[in-house]
Amino acid sequence: MTGPEPTPPAAPARSVRAARAAGLARRSGRLTGRLTVLAAVLGLWQVLSVTGYLRADEFPSMTRTAAALGREFGQVGFWVDLWATVRAWAAGVAIGAGSAVLVGSLLGLNRFAHRSASPVIELFKTVPVVAILPLAILEFGPTLRMRYVLVAFGVFWPLTIQVIYGVRSVDPTVRDTAEALGVRALRRFAVVTLPSAAPFIATGLRVAAATGLILDIVAELIGGGDNGLGLGILTALNAGPAAYPTMYAFIVATGLLGVLLTGAFGLAERRVLHWHESQREHARGPGAVSGG
């Protein structure tokens, strides 16, 4: 005996449609909310400047900063600065990450090697990287090389740890399967080990991207050099209050560069590793958990 097939009453259907409409409304509401907050913060900045609460010789108004930013976008010097920062960052991250993957993989494959080297790497990881900045300045002077050496040094230690951990975390079943299938040595490393370690490496890289930018800015501010966003900030600071809008424009530009670089790495991480469980959160659809 089976129960009668229920015909869906009208009321629930309407409420589902209502829920869907509510979802849409929420999304557009969120966008307006974000724009409103952004506008409110910028507006508050302007109001504080105009009313004199923020002194013009200390903190330029929002409109003057925005104008300075627009002006800088049209100047070659700004783009030269931006390019120098990106170059130092990219070279440093590439060198640091490349050596970290190499060293980390080698260490990760051997239990004795990684147990011996790990404490040293852990120690170096906790050493504030800026400590060696004066040394780098002595050795290389205020050059691009000084900057990317510092970036590479800072990126290397934490990423190596990530790589070792990733290589060591290969699922034993996967490893045994590869063994059983006769996949060995270099091929196994390329086909089994690296893909398994990829999520760890990707996470490490995203962090490295952010750390690298911070270190390059520090190197520019303290070590000096010819071009760079940090140097742009410093130059504007030294030019006195009249140039403060330019200083803030450079700071905003540095932040935007941070958004761009970190965002790119985050996006790549999500794209490449959509299969991995650390990305499960993003794949989880609504409905499954709805009480909370």
Binding site: T2, G3, P4, P6, P9, P12, R20, G23, P286, G291
Partner: protein, 291 residues
Amino acid sequence: MTVQPEGTVSVGRADPPGNSGTPDIPANPGTAEAAGAPVLSVRGLRKVYPLGGRTERVAVADVSFEVARGEFVCVVGPSGAGKTTLLRCMSGLLTPTAGQALVEGQPLRRVPAQVGVVFQDYGRSLYPWLTVNRNVALPLKVRGMDRADRAERIADVLASVGLHDVGRRYPWQLSGGMQQRVAIARTLAYRPALLFMDEPFASVDAQTRFDLEDLILRVRERFAVTVVFVTHDIDEAVYLADRVVVLSGSPSTVREVVPVPLPAARDQRGTRALPEFLALRRRLLELVTSR
């Protein structure tokens, strides 16, 4: 079973109130005192999840049934039949899209104080940062019980689920079966009148499962608690229940309510070997697997 004018299906206690049970339910020693308003009544309950875009998923289409005081009712259905959703709606954890669940005649806005819920996943429902004692103490603290009474109650309720000397341990230091006992004890500690259990023994091994089934029957006796027990295991349902509510596949409706006229005193080997047990089992299997 009658079809009411609105088109909802009411099963079980469709007769006017005052009747101590539907005619097809034999007087069961465990439910002999059942009288008055039902502890739980589910009326035309429906739950629909919007899936974004134009799609939606009807988890529970239309479910109605009632549970009398002191009864042990099992809800079975094929996997994916929306059993958990139904339980969440009945216990007040989830608001139904249409219809309602009434506990002691009151519509639910939250989980009522006299209701307890035991979840399937003890590893997730116990709080790993609290010791066993503190886990059990939490609902008592909420209810304003003082320290001395609390300690007494905790020791008592842990003993009643067969746990001794584990109060200072953390849940994750215990085996799966013991963890589920802690979860049951935590719920029983505040003496709920109505206990919902969502496949509580699905994550333990077979032997532990038998032990826990007998435990819950003893506990039900001792605390005089009404139990609504969701499971996909037909044997378990027949073994435990006074009545079994069989759900159809998703989206679920009530296919039939089957009384279990087995003797109240049950034991794993004897009861499961009874011809009546086997007959009921076959019948339920047909109901669950039929389309």
